[in-house]
Structure formats: structure tokens, C-alpha cells
């Protein structure tokens, strides 16, 4: 692959990101003489920003690679990552916004009135963030290795350094505009080359994966069963993790705070569903076309780069190089936006911890938090063996589904949840799923029940956490927070209903008619 264009593209994305971070705070403000207050972030901007931050390397590169290798059953990844927002929409979005919580630990504290529970939630946010960041760094290393032949650690360190500079300098914190732009950039970066690729594919006589020697198992959505129901378990566990894990991702929840009210939060979620639905068509297409034209990548194990490889293989020439460079730029945008969002959330949680608050103060706390938030997953990325990017992100989802999903759903819908119940449930799910994931990373992959149970833990760890939370709560009913009824009213009543917040002074007449 010709490296010049791609190297330029990577450099441009890196510089643009740094530039926006250092000088681009202006983007974050609405400047006007009067009446800016009514201009809140619209659901479309907000949902684009969620999409921009959410669509990570796993979505951009990983899915196509997994489909190339394993076939149609891997489509469950994008389906789950999108459907997660459906669950979020139905059960969590509006009440979460109404809770006034900015982070998941905030929600925990607000609901069960316990700083201990808050501490456990903070730790889990950090663990989930680390699991989410690790594959981003690995992916960056792989991409840079592919396009300019640099050693794998160069890309990882490059992304980490840019993200740290951004977060520490105060830029790109959670600027809705910038993250929203990232969504449309990623969409374009995948869409434009895909149009050319589809054209080339049509010219070629539209060969199907079967023509290229794909087996029937490759084409089946629940395929490659080894006779033990293994792949069935793996598929369902994946569905569990992705459907239920989305609501527990730290950088997703933070965005809901920007919505003015619960209604806007629902609208935002609905739009996210649409935006993600459109986006995920493309990695899937790349995967299928990749099976036709780049099936040999499966043998090398570097399937994550199939998206970047296709333009050169199918089109070639300068056009192929330019398209490849565009895809590379999009991939780097994916690494940077997701890593920035997650790191910022982690740094916020770490800086809010009692230790950081007392010893360091808020500003230094945020910086140390950002450094800690980045260094650990960077280290993990450098030492751990290669795991497919999308599978690795799946670990983060599994832990999130086994901890914050029960907490949010029970916290919002079950008044009898207590602090000890919440803590016990989060710990059970966290140690269950987290331990399994660590074991899976350390053991490496083999085929068999144990491997599946460890690398796809959600199907057993999420019910375990849920049951623990319910049982311990029932056993500790005396510890129910005294204000739980009030909390429930607040979570479930629309803001327009003036219950406790009523206009008690009686001057809530409609606005006087205007000229």
C-alpha cells in the first residue's frame, strides 16, 4: 500500500484534532447579544454527538473484520450496539435525565443515598472505561502499522498522547459540535469509498461470498455450531451484553445531561437509533465485500484492516490510494473521538473521588485523572496479545451490562432497591464479568465451554448481578433510603407536570398575548 496519502491523512486528522482542542473553544460557545438561553442543544446535534463518540474503532474497523472471519452471526454486534439504544430509550433515557445525574456514580448516589455505593460505581466506570480504551489504542497501532509500516506501539502512543493533550488543555471536553461533526465525518469516510467499491463490485459481475468459497456456516446467523450449543450460547450472551450494556457506558450517559428535559432525552435516543442504523449498514457491507476480495486476510489474522485494504485491492491506482487515505482518516477520527470522550468521563470520575479532591484539588485532579485514565489501558494494549477489536470492546459491554444495567433498571423501576443491594449486585456482576474477561485475556483463546463462558460472560453474569441486587435489597429493606418516594416521583413525572415544583404562588398563568 502506498503510504504517502494515508500518512498525510493521519497527520491531518491528528493536527485538526489538536487544533480544535487548543484553539477551538470558540466552537463551544454561542455568541450573541441576547436570547441565547433558549438555544439549547437540539436532539439532532446531541444524537450526532452521541454517535460521534460512540462509533469507535470497533464499529469502524472491527465489525467488518469479524464478519470477514466468522460470517453472518457477527452482524449481532452492530445489531446489539444499535438495539442497546432501544432498551435505553424504553427504560432509562427520560428518567435518567430527570434524575439530574451527570455521571453514573451521581445517579447511584442520588438513588440509594450512599457514598459507598457511589465509590463502587466509580470504580466500575473506571474499569469499563479501561476495557473500552484498550482496543482503541490497539486498533490505532494496527492501523498505523498497516498504512505506514510503523511498529504497533507507535499508533497506540500517538493516540494516547493526543488525547491526553486534549483533555489536559481543556479542549474538546465534551463539545457537542465537535463530536457531532465526528459522526458525519466517519459516515462520509465510509460512505464515499463504499460507493466506488460497490461500483467496482457491480462491474465485476456481483460475485457473492459463496462464489468466493464461503461456507454455509459463514452465511448463517447462528452458525458454526460445534455440537454443544456453544455458538448458540455465545450469540445470546453477545445479545445480552450489547443490548443491556449500552446504558452503562460512561461517555454515553454524560451526553444525556445536555438534553434540556426527559422528553428531549427520548427524542435524542430515537435519533441515535436512526443514525446508528444507517451507519452500521456500511461496516457490514465492507465485511461482505471483503469476504469476496480479501478472504486471504483471515489466514494472516489481521482482519481488522479489511476496511482499509479494499480500495487498493478492488480499485487501485491513485483513486484507490486516496480512498484508502480517506478511510484511514476516518479510522483515526474514530480512535480520537471515542478515546477523548471515554478519557474525559474517566478523568471526571477519578477527579471527583475523595482522594483526588482532598489531595490535588479539582484542576490537578482532572489532569492526574486523565493521565491515569489513559496510562493503564495503554499499558494493557501494549502488553496484551492481539484480540479482535470488536471482541475486546465486547468485554466492556459485558461488564457494563452486568453492573450498571441492573442498577439503572432496578433503580428506576423498583422502589425497594437499597444501598447494600446495589453494592452487592454491582460487585457480583463486576467481579463475575470482570474476572471472566481478565481470565479470557490472560488465557488467550481456545475452543470450548470454558472459553465461551469467560469471553462472553454477560448471559450468566448479568442475571447473577440482578438476582444479587434483588435478594440483598429484599434482605435489607430497613436500609431503604427515606426519600425513595420523592425520588421516584422525580424520575417518572414529566417536567411539565408541576408536582412538587409547582407554581405555588399562583402566577403560572399563560404568557400574556404579544403584539
Amino acid at each position: 500500500m502506498n503510504t504517502t496519502y494515508s500518512a498525510i491523512a493521519v497527520a491531518a486528522v491528528a493536527l485538526a484534532t489538536l487544533g480544535i482542542g487548543l484553539f477551538g473553544l470558540r466552537f463551544s460557545r454561542t455568541t450573541s447579544d441576547f436570547f441565547v438561553a433558549s438555544r439549547s442543544v437540539s436532539p439532532l446535534w446531541n444524537s450526532s454527538a452521541i454517535g460521534g463518540e460512540y462509533l469507535s474503532a470497533a464499529s469502524y474497523l472491527g465489525i467488518a473484520g469479524l464478519i470477514l472471519t466468522f460470517g453472518a452471526d457477527m452482524v449481532w454486534f452492530p445489531v446489539g450496539w444499535t438495539a442497546g439504544y432501544l432498551v435505553l430509550l424504553a427504560f432509562v433515557a427520560a428518567p435518567l435525565r430527570r434524575s439530574g445525574a451527570y455521571t453514573l456514580p451521581d445517579f447511584t448516589q442520588m438513588r440509594v443515598q450512599s457514598t459507598a455505593a457511589r465509590g463502587v460505581a466509580s470504580m466500575l466506570v473506571v474499569v469499563i472505561g479501561w476495557l473500552y480504551l484498550m482496543p482503541q489504542f490497539q486498533g490505532a497501532g494496527l492501523v498505523l502499522h498497516t498504512v505506514i509500516g510503523a511498529p504497533a506501539w507507535v499508533g497506540s502512543v500517538l493516540v494516547a498522547v493526543i488525547v491526553v493533550i486534549n483533555v489536559v488543555s481543556g479542549g474538546m471536553r465534551s463539545i457537542t459540535f465537535v463530536q457531532a461533526f465526528q459522526y458525519w465525518l466517519k459516515l462520509t469516510a465510509l460512505l464515499v469509498p463504499l460507493v466506488f467499491l460497490l461500483h467496482a463490485w457491480t462491474e465485476d459481475g456481483r460475485p457473492t461470498p459463496s462464489d468466493a468459497g464461503a461456507s454455509a456456516a459463514w452465511l448463517s446467523p447462528v452458525a458454526a455450531d460445534t455440537g454443544l450449543g456453544l455458538s448458540m450460547y455465545a450469540t445470546y450472551s453477545l445479545i445480552f451484553a450489547t443490548f443491556l450494556g449500552t446504558m452503562g457506558l460512561p461517555h454515553v450517559v454524560v451526553r444525556f445531561y445536555t438534553n434540556p428535559d426527559g422528553r428531549a432525552a427520548r427524542r435524542t435516543t430515537l435519533l441515535v437509533l436512526a443514525l446508528l442504523g444507517v451507519f452500521y449498514l456500511m461496516p457490514t457491507a465492507y465485511g461482505v465485500i471483503g469476504r469476496v476480495y480479501a478472504g486471504d486476510l483471515v489466514d494472516t489474522g489481521e482482519t481488522d484492516i479489511v476496511v482499509l485494504e479494499l480500495p487498493m485491492r478492488m480499485i487501485g491506482g491513485t483513486l484507490g490510494e486516496v480512498l484508502g487515505a480517506l478511510l484511514t482518516a476516518g479510522a483515526f477520527a474514530a480512535f480520537l473521538s471515542t478515546s477523548s470522550g471515554v478519557t474525559m468521563s474517566l478523568a471526571g470520575v477519578l477527579a471527583q473521588g475523595p482522594l483526588a479532591r482532598r489531595v490535588l484539588g479539582p484542576v490537578a485532579g482532572l489532569r492526574v485523572g486523565a493521565a491515569l485514565g489513559i496510562l493503564v489501558p495503554l499499558g494493557l494494549a501494549l502488553v496484551s496479545g492481539r484480540i479482535a477489536v470488536a471482541s475486546s470492546v465486547g468485554f466492556a459491554f459485558a461488564v457494563a451490562a452486568s453492573t450498571f444495567c441492573p442498577l439503572l433498571v432496578l433503580g428506576i423501576w423498583w422502589p425497594r432497591l437499597t444501598a447494600p443491594g446495589a453494592i452487592a449486585g454491582m460487585l457480583a456482576g463486576g467481579f463475575g464479568a470482570g474476572g471472566a474477561v481478565v481470565a479470557a485475556i490472560v488465557r488467550g483463546s481456545d475452543e470450548g465451554w470454558l472459553d465461551q463462558l469467560l469471553s462472553r460472560p454477560a448471559a450468566w453474569s448479568m442475571p447473577l448481578a440482578l438476582a444479587t441486587m434483588v435478594l440483598v435489597s429484599l434482605a435489607t429493606q430497613s436500609r431503604r433510603p427515606s426519600n425513595v418516594r420523592r425520588t421516584m416521583v422525580r424520575l417518572h413525572s414529566p417536567e411539565r407536570l408541576r408536582l412538587d415544583r409547582a407554581d405555588a404562588d399562583g402566577i403560572s398563568r399563560p404568557d400574556p398575548p404579544r403584539g
Partner: protein
């Protein structure tokens, strides 16, 4: 404290007993500082039992038993004993038909000379030492309850101050605004009408009586109304820029915590400056916090004077700054006081940081 090394380091047996007593007392204190309720009583009682070294103890208010701790407490009987002690106002010892603990000592709890409850202690033996200890514990508990009262009255004072601040916006401002509107009635009736509607909306927000908190969006809207009205008076002499990161519009903050700062900038910074000036209001997103600054290029202020105002002993015409500072500290803790940068002739910049989430701070 369990290792031999720390035993030596912590002094003699008496010293350690003192430490332990103080430690136990300090554990009971936070609950009692919440006032005398069932929750606080049951949280404090196990520490009080340790403190007294008895097997059974109960806390009552003047009506009923709030909590009991220990073996075989007979509830009805305890309230009867408590009533007698409450009526007498001093520590009483009783003999009861209880099988195992026939002796009871009851000490009243007093807050500001009024009896609010009693401590009921049971013992197997009659002991003057225990009576003394019970009296002392009751006295200590009374002290904590008085502190709780004090906290309560401080909160009440804050609420009263908030009400006072609302009332305080009006006199100057209402007079000036109505004067400015009057000047438009003949020359530009349409504008006068619009200004009157702004005025109506502004007062509706400022005089609302419910809720301690509001959203930054609402507060900014009120500020914009205020500035529209001031602009009617100042004309071209007042330049205003408002820059807001849309992400922070949903932040919850104490009601009328930014508007007084803007009013302060107009009244103390620009009103007496020849040729008017410029006010810049900026709200930024800083991760877990929103940062709001109000800056004017007016006549500035002597920093010492501002320091006195924030300390609460300044001249009364600048109560706005001190009040906002105090309320921010009360709601979010001392780290969230306002920051004022100023010097004579150099304008004034006031910075307020608001955490996006704080327990208890909700609409």
C-alpha cells in the same frame, strides 16, 4: 490500636480509655446533629450504649419511644418512666418489676431550657456511677441536639436571606425601569409595550416563591430580560455580550445566583462610569462543572472592600455579592465560593463554578 507498638505510642490505659470514649462519642455525633428523629436515634443509640456500658438503653421524645437498643427493653414501661423524668426535668432513678434489670435511670434531654426527650437506661444493679454517667451522656446528647437546632436556624436564616435578596432587587431597579419605560410611552409606544412585558416576565421570575433551584437557562433568560430593561435606560452606553456553551444550559443552580452579579456589575461598575461600558457574561462547560463569569470594564472596586463584603461585614448596599457567595458555599461546600478579581479603575470579573451534579441540589 491493636498492635503492641501503637499501644505504647498511645499512652497509658487511662489515656486509651479516654480516646475510646471520645471516639465512640464522635461516632454518635453525626446522627444526633440531624436532630431527634427515629432514624437519628437508632443510628446514635448503639454508640451511646457502648459509651454507657449498659445492656439496654432507649431514647424518647416527649411523646413516644424513638428507638431502643439492647436486651429485653419493655417499650410501654420506658415511656412511662420517661414521662416522669421529663415532668421532673432532672435525672430520676426507678425500681421496676423487670426480671433481669430492675433498676432504671432516666435523664431528660434539654434544648435551650426546654425538655425535648429522655434517655432511659436499665441496669441490674443500683449504682450512683451509672446515674452520673447517664446524666453526663444526656447532657452531651442535649449539646448535640442544640447544635442541630443551630444548623436548622442557620438554614432558616439562609432562606430568609434568599427572600430578602429577592425583595432587594426591586426598589432601585423597579423605579429605574418604570422611569425608562415611561420615557418611551409617547415616543415609541410599541417599544414601551414590549419593555413592560419584559418587565412583567422579569418580576414573575424574581418573585416566584417556590423552589430553591433553577436551571442556568432560566437564570440566563432572566438576566437577558434584566439587561434589555437596563439597555432601555442606558441606551448605547451599555454594551452586552452573552456567550453560553449550550451544554451547560441544563445545569441546576441556586435560584437568583447569577442575576445579582450582573446587577452588581451594572450598578457598581457602570452606572457611575462616564460613557457607559461593556458587560460580558460567559458560561463554559468544564467537564463536571459549569464555569460562569460576569465581567465589566467599569470603575472597579477596592479589593479590600470586596473582601469585607464577602466576609459579611461590608456596607449593606453590596449585599448581592456576599449573599451569592454564602449561598453557593452552603449548597456546594466551601470550595465553591465566588471569585472576584477587581481593582480600582480596572473593572470587575466575578467567577462562579457550579458542579453539574450535587446531592440535594435539584429542581
Amino acid at each position: 490500636m491493636r498492635t503492641p507498638w501503637s499501644r505504647r505510642a498511645l499512652g497509658s490505659a487511662e489515656d486509651r480509655a479516654t480516646y475510646e470514649t471520645l471516639h465512640t462519642a464522635s461516632q454518635a455525633a453525626p446522627a444526633l446533629r440531624r436532630g431527634l428523629t427515629e432514624d437519628s436515634a437508632s443510628a446514635a443509640l448503639k454508640h451511646l450504649r457502648t459509651l454507657l456500658g449498659v445492656s439496654s438503653v432507649a431514647l424518647t421524645d416527649t411523646e413516644r419511644i424513638l428507638a431502643t437498643e439492647g436486651t429485653r427493653e419493655r417499650r410501654s414501661d420506658a415511656m412511662e418512666l420517661a414521662r416522669q423524668a421529663i415532668a421532673a426535668g432532672t435525672t430520676q432513678a426507678f425500681s421496676t418489676p423487670h426480671a433481669h434489670y430492675p433498676y432504671a435511670i432516666v435523664a431528660p434531654l434539654t434544648v435551650e431550657d426546654a425538655v425535648v426527650g429522655a434517655v432511659v437506661v436499665r441496669s441490674a444493679t443500683r449504682s450512683a456511677g451509672l446515674a452520673r454517667a447517664t446524666t453526663e451522656v444526656a447532657r452531651w446528647v442535649s449539646g448535640q441536639l442544640e447544635l442541630a437546632e443551630l444548623d436548622k436556624s442557620r438554614t432558616a436564616l439562609m432562606e430568609a436571606e434568599l427572600r430578602a435578596l429577592r425583595a432587594q432587587i426591586s426598589p432601585h431597579f423597579i423605579y429605574n425601569s418604570l422611569g425608562a419605560i415611561a420615557s418611551f410611552v409617547r415616543t415609541d409606544p410599541e417599544r414601551a409595550r414590549e419593555l413592560l412585558l419584559e418587565f412583567a416576565d422579569f418580576t414573575r421570575y424574581s418573585f416566584r416563591r417556590h423552589g430553591e433551584f433553577t436551571t442556568l437557562a432560566d437564570e440566563l433568560q432572566s438576566i437577558e430580560r434584566y439587561l434589555v430593561l437596563e439597555k432601555a435606560r442606558f441606551g448605547d452606553r451599555l454594551n452586552v455580550t452573552v456567550q453560553v456553551a449550550p451544554e451547560v444550559l441544563a445545569v441546576t443552580l441556586p435560584f437568583l445566583s447569577i442575576q445579582p452579579l450582573v446587577e452588581n456589575a451594572v450598578r457598581h461598575g457602570l452606572e457611575s462610569k462616564a460613557g457607559g461600558g461593556k458587560i460580558v457574561v460567559i458560561a463554559l462547560d468544564a467537564g463536571t462543572e459549569a464555569v460562569i463569569t460576569v465581567e465589566d470594564d467599569g470603575i472597579g472596586e477596592d479589593p479590600d472592600r470586596v473582601r469585607r463584603i464577602l466576609a459579611g461585614d461590608g456596607p449593606t448596599d453590596s449585599v448581592g455579592l456576599g449573599n451569592v457567595d454564602e449561598r453557593m458555599r452552603t449548597v456546594y461546600g466551601n470550595a465553591y465560593g465566588i471569585v472576584v478579581e477587581t481593582a480600582p479603575g480596572a473593572g470587575t470579573k466575578v467567577t462562579v463554578r457550579v458542579p453539574k451534579y450535587a446531592p440535594g441540589a435539584a429542581l
